[in-house]
């Protein structure tokens, strides 16, 4: 399955509390994605919390967008990526 990086902008910052409510929010997103065959691997968040780079496994870009719209998440750009590991590069 292709891997994608999804860039998102949150103008007022992304605030997910580090408690049960935050965990529930994240897992809710994970459950919703499963229906589309989309797996959220993890995300990188800028220190001002306005931009995220989310790594996904998904069947195609439309599936990524469908889950984004279901979870009310913005999408700036979707790029298909492959891993380059500097320590195993031969």
């Amino acid at each position: 399955m292709p891997r994608y990086i999804v860039e998102r902008t949150f103008d007022s910052g992304l605030h997910i509390p580090v408690d049960e409510a935050g965990a529930a929010t994240c897992l809710g997103v994970v459950d919703g994605n499963a229906e589309e065959g989309v797996t959220w691997i993890h995300s990188y968040v800028t220190s001002d919390k306005t931009k995220t780079f989310c790594v996904y496994d998904a069947p195609d870009p439309e599936a990524v967008r469908r889950t984004a719209s279901r979870n009310a998440l913005p999408v700036d750009r979707i790029s298909e990526v492959r891993v380059l590991d500097p320590y195993f590069y031969s």
Partner: protein
């Protein structure tokens, strides 16, 4: 889980459809039966493992129990939509539909219709299916993709669960778990067999258990094994002699191998066990039992009789019952089953007279054609042609050849279709004129229509109508009228619509379903070509009607055109959903895949999403020498636009040149406009722009302007659409004009909606307006209450209000239609 769902349904939160998947013997049925034991009354219907399933099988079971209007409807051969409406009217409590992997088409149609409005029915529908038996194009897959339901999976048993069951028998749970992979049915069979070793397969376990029965009980179990779906007591008496039936049945029931189903019929505890026992019968014994069943079952039950006739190897009985079963299936839209019944009749058709054999082949071909099995349809019709040829019936042969042209066209064998169309007319013109010739004229007209040659289309259709009128043949008139109407509408001539309407009105009778589907496909083709958006209601209606009539292939065409319509209107999510559905479902028609692939490729290119080239390249491969514009235009447009957006302007000329010339030759003005617009954007030509309606196209048309305000307007619209590459182009052009400060624009996914609400928030707002609570909304939209809470908060924030009531008022004030 099921209990919680049922509580919500009973509390009036609207109905729920639960889809329960699992492997064979995985415990789906046991789970549902256990649940239902505590919640009577339950309506129960099962699909059955007949070679070809009974049309509307599960609903026939249910109607048998409910009686009344539903029973009358089904007995009268009602269509799926009528059945769905009646089931909805009687909706109450729990309805179970078992083993959907065996379902006939009509049953799936009913379920699909129920699924769409389940939220408004006070009913819990539980549907079970074996997920390991669904191949890629199984019709149930389509339903699963389309219906919103709660999915449950009956997974294998854990080691602990197996240990719980194995303890009283002194079995090693780990060994048992490994051998059975936790399959609940396998586990219980192994335990019930009480042998020393664990049998290698579930089959061995079943046989070991059956081997412990005495002779009389064995006789009964064997008899029940041939009676599909279940064995009535009358039938059992006919299959087993005398008193043995009663004593044997008692002991077989006591041993737990068979059980009494609702309605007093006898069935196996599991289909795996039934099949194992039936397969273990000696050929003589099996045939003898099926022969007895054939004599005992009442004559009206053609589907079951055809099954037993085949199993008994009774060719004469197959000939008697299979065609009748096929007609019954076709009459209610189960065309796949009808095709299978004709195939069965033909397998036993060695001794038939040629005209009967050819007739069966033609019918089989037609049923395959209706269900998107084009290759099978062509094979059957070619065989029929050969039979007519050998029988020396020139008229019938030519009529079949003429019909073949439509199938060949679907398979993208266009040149062959034209050649054979000419051949059919030539043969028939040499014979006294009749309806075959009229139809051959009209089929020829259709081939010219597909190539968008207006004068020839109209001329051949007129000849067809003139001849058909002297013969009073409506089928030909309906077909020819459609051809003329379509070519007119494609040229933007609105008179065509009236002709299509008339053709449709004349088609509202049994046997004319295909012509109804054809009207909707052609409106879809013409409306997307000419951007006649006011015809959009035809698309939704067409999809609905094709579903009701069981016209699978036709529905997919209409949906492919709807995908294009959504794309042109800037609704890219909806367009992608429709196109993806078509791609999942289209089996054998290249044009369908081309339409859907080019839509997907264009969406990706416009959004700047990755992988836009793969679908466009696949579509180009599928073109494979096709000369018709309806094939070539979508591919050329998608390809050229992706090239332009990728900055490869120099390649746009070659991608569009031939199609432009052909479009001009056919006087396809709307298409010429679209191709020229792209060429202008790529800087290949400098013709005067003409307006192409649609938000994206209108914005692109402004890119060439020197007016800064227009350019800003275009940028704004493209930002709202989320058209990243076009935004970059617009920004560059503004910068070239010295504009420095540019707005970043709204986030695209909330664009296009005046309150900046997402699609989902819009849905939630509709329900808020109706006064629904969060819990009610959650149940309706299959969301968690927490998610609904988030949506409501977002709506309040975006509208700048603090209560639900204010939100409703504010939304109306801003004119947000929900």
């Amino acid at each position: 889980m099921l209990n919680a769902v049922l509580d919500a349904v009973t509390a009036g939160h609207g109905g729920v459809l639960v889809l329960l998947g699992g492997e064979a013997g995985g415990g789906k049925t046991a789970l549902v039966r256990e649940f239902c034991r505590h919640h009577a009354p339950v309506l129960w219907g099962a699909c059955d493992p007949l070679f070809t399933p009974r049309p509307l099988g599960p609903f026939t079971d249910i109607a048998h129990d409910t009686g009344g209007a539903l029973r009358e409807l089904i007995a009268a051969g009602a269509k799926p939509h009528q059945v769905a409406v009646e089931v909805g009217r009687q909706a109450k409590g729990i309805m179970v539909l078992e083993d959907l992997h065996w379902a006939d088409e009509a049953t799936l149609d009913v379920l699909s219709l129920l699924g769409r409005r389940i939220g408004s029915l006070p009913m819990l529908v539980i549907a079970t299916y074996r997920d390991d038996e669904l191949h890629r194009t199984h019709p149930l897959r389509r339903l699963l993709g389309e219906v919103r339901g709660t999915r449950l999976a009956a997974g294998p048993l854990s080691v602990d669960a197996v240990a719980g069951l194995a303890r009283p028998f002194g079995r090693d749970p780990h060994e048992l778990h490994r051998a059975t992979a936790g399959n609940p049915f396998f586990v219980t069979e192994v335990l019930a067999a009480r042998g020393d070793d664990i049998p290698a397969t579930v089959r061995d376990a079943v046989l070991a258990r059956a081997a412990r029965l005495d002779a009389e009980a064995t006789t009964v179990v064997e008899a029940v094994s041939v009676a599909v779906p279940q064995c009535e007591l009358d039938l059992l008496d006919a299959l087993v002699d005398g008193a043995a039936a009663q004593d044997g049945l008692e002991r077989a029931l006591a041993a737990g191998i068979v059980e009494v189903a609702p309605g007093g019929k006898i069935r196996f505890r599991h289909e795996l066990a039934r099949r194992t026992i039936e397969e273990s019968l000696s050929p003589h014994r099996r045939v003898a039992l099926h022969r007895r069943a054939l004599r005992a079952i009442p004559a009206g039950d053609a589907t079951r009789l055809a099954h037993h006739a085949e199993a008994a190897g009774d060719a004469e009985a197959v000939q008697r019952f299979a065609p009748r079963a096929a007609e019954q299936a076709a009459a209610i839209g189960s065309h796949r089953e009808a095709a299978a019944h004709y195939a069965r009749a033909l397998r036993f058709g060695a001794g038939l007279p040629p005209e009967t054999r050819a007739d069966l082949l033609e019918r089989q071909s037609q049923e395959c054609y209706l269900t998107d099995q084009t290759d099978e349809s062509i094979t059957a019709l070619e065989l029929a042609i050969k039979v007519w040829q050998e029988a020396g019936d020139r008229r019938a042969e030519a009529a079949a050849v003429s019909q073949l042209t439509r199938r060949l066209w679907c398979a993208a064998r266009t040149e062959e279709a034209t050649r054979r169309g000419d051949e059919a007319v030539r043969i028939l013109e040499g014979l006294p004129p009749g309806r075959e010739l009229a139809l051959a004229y009209s089929n020829l007209s259709q081939l010219f229509l597909n190539d968008e040659r207006r004068p020839e289309t109209v001329a051949w259709a007129r000849r067809a109508i003139d001849l058909a009128e002297t013969l009073d043949d409506n089928a030909v008139i309906v077909h020819a009228l459609n051809n003329i109407g379509t070519i007119e509408l494609l040229n933007g001539d609105r008179q065509g619509l009236a002709k299509l309407e008339r053709s449709r009105a004349m088609s509202e009778r049994p046997g004319f379903e295909e012509h109804i589907g054809r009207v909707f496909i052609h409106v879809g083709w013409a409306m997307t070509r000419t951007r006649a958006y006011d015809l959009a209601p035809w698309l939704d209606r067409g999809i609905e009607l094709c579903d009701e009539l069981g016209l699978e292939g036709w529905r997919l065409y209409v949906q492919a055109y709807r995908a294009r319509f959504h794309l042109d209107q800037g609704r890219w999510d909806a367009a992608a959903d429709d196109a993806a559905f078509v791609l999942r479902s289209a089996e054998s028609v290249p044009l369908l895949r081309i339409l859907a692939l080019t839509t997907i490729g264009t969406i990706r290119a416009r959004r700047g999403d990755p992988d836009q080239w793969a679908p466009i390249e696949e579509a180009r491969t599928l073109l494979d020498g096709q000369s018709e514009l309806q094939y070539r235009a979508p591919v050329a447009l998608a390809h050229a636009e992706a090239l332009w957006l990728a900055g490869r302007n120099d390649a746009v000329d070659e991608a569009t040149r031939d199609v432009l010339a052909q479009a001009e030759d056919r006087q396809a003005a709307p298409l010429v406009r679209e191709v020229r617009a792209l060429r202008r954007l790529a800087g290949i030509e400098r013709t005067e722009p003409t307006r192409i309606p649609g938000p994206y196209d209108e914005a692109l048309a402004l890119l060439d302007t020197t007016n800064e305000a227009d350019l800003r307007g275009a940028l704004d619209e493209l930002q709202k659409l989320g058209a990243r590459p076009a935004v970059a182009i617009a920004t560059r052009r503004l910068r070239e004009r010295g504009v420095r400060k540019l707005p970043r624009g709204p986030r695209p996914h909330t664009a296009g909606n005046p309150g900046q609400l997402t699609r989902r928030e819009g849905e939630v707002l509709t329900l808020v307006r109706q006064g629904d609570s969060n819990a009610e909304i959650a149940a309706r939209l299959f969301l968690s209450e927490r998610t609904v809470h988030h949506h409501v908060s977002a709506i309040l924030r975006k509208l700048g209000v603090s209560s639900r009531t204010q939100a409703v008022t504010e939304a109306s004030r801003r004119g947000i239609a929900t």
